[in-house]
Amino acid sequence: MKSLEQLTDSVFYIMAALTEPRHGYAVMSLIEETTKGTFVVGPASLYTIIKKLLAEQLIQLHDDSDSRRKVYVLTDKGREILLEDIERRKTMIHLAEQGLQRGQK
C-alpha cells in the first residue's frame, strides 16, 4: 500500500468503521454485517491496513485501549482524508446515476 491518496475499498471500509472507536475485530464484523457479507476483510489485510493507517497518522489508539484490547479511532487528518474520498466516490456515483437517467429517456 504505497499511497493513501485514493483509498481502496478495503481502506475505505476500515476508515468508515473507525469513525467511532472500535477494536479490530469489531471493524471486521461491522463491515461484514453492513455489506451482508458481500465484502469481507481478511485478518492479515486488516492488520496490515491498521498498521499502515497508524503509521500515516490517519488513525490513533483510543483512550479506552489497553494492551489486550486495542481500540482505534480516526484522527482529524483521517477524517479529512475520508471526507475527500467520499466526495470522490460521490462524483463517481453522480456520473453513473445521471448517465443511467438520461439513458432511460
Binding site: M1, S10, G24, G42, P43, L46, T48, K52
Partner: protein, 181 residues
C-alpha cells in the same frame, strides 16, 4: 507405525501455495502440521480433517502478538505454528482468505523480499570476491578461493532464484491489482 512424519518445503518463495495445498492434502489423510522443521514441516498422525492453510510473514512485537492472533481467530483462522517471523494458520474450507485485497498482499511480499534480498546480495558479494581471488591469485590462496567459489556459487544461484521468485509473485499481484482498479 510411527506417528510423526517430515514433509519438505518446496521453497516458500516459489511455491507457497503448493506447500499449503500439500499440507491440506496431508491433513485430509490424517497427518497434521505441528511445527516448522528444518526447511520443511513436522506432521503428526491424527483424525482426517478438511482444512486449508495460509502463511503470513510478519515480525511481531511482543505487545502486538495478542491482537494479531486474535484478529485471525476472529476471522476463523486457527494459529498452528510460528517460526522466524513466519506464521501458519488453518481454517475450514471457504473461510475468507487472510489477505482479501491485492494491496496488502503486495505488502506481505515486500516484507518477505527484504531478508531474501539481503541473503542473496551477501551471497553474491562473497561469490564475486572469491572469483576475483580465484582469478588474480596463485598457489594456495587461489586453491582455497576456488574451493570457496564453488561452495558459494552453489548457494548463490538458488538464493538469487528465490529473490526472483518473490518478485515474480509481486509482479503477478500487481497485475491482479491493475485488473481490479
Amino acid at each position: 507405525m510411527r506417528n510423526k512424519r517430515y514433509m519438505p518445503s518446496m521453497g516458500l518463495a516459489f511455491s507457497e501455495a503448493l506447500d499449503m495445498k500439500e499440507l491440506s492434502k496431508k491433513a485430509a489423510e490424517g497427518w497434521h502440521l505441528k511445527r516448522f522443521q528444518c526447511a520443511g514441516y513436522g506432521l503428526e498422525k491424527g483424525e482426517p480433517e478438511e482444512v486449508i492453510f495460509s502463511i503470513d510473514y510478519r515480525k511481531l512485537q511482543k505487545a502486538d502478538e495478542e491482537e494479531y492472533f486474535e484478529l485471525f481467530a476472529y476471522g476463523g483462522w486457527t494459529h498452528v505454528c510460528s517460526s522466524a517471523h513466519m506464521h501458519i494458520f488453518k481454517a475450514a474450507p471457504e473461510t475468507t482468505p487472510i489477505y482479501s485485497d491485492a494491496e496488502s498482499s503486495i505488502d506481505k511480499l515486500a516484507r518477505l523480499a527484504k531478508p531474501v534480498n539481503l541473503v542473496a546480495s551477501i551471497a553474491l558479494a562473497i561469490t564475486m570476491v572469491l572469483w576475483v581471488f580465484m582469478t588474480f591469485t596463485s598457489g594456495t590462496i587461489q586453491h582455497i578461493a576456488e574451493q570457496g567459489f564453488t561452495g558459494s556459487f552453489i548457494f548463490t544461484v538458488p538464493a538469487i532464484m528465490t529473490s526472483g521468485g518473490v518478485y515474480y509473485h509481486m509482479w503477478k499481484n500487481l497485475r491482479l491489482k491493475s485488473k481490479h482498479i
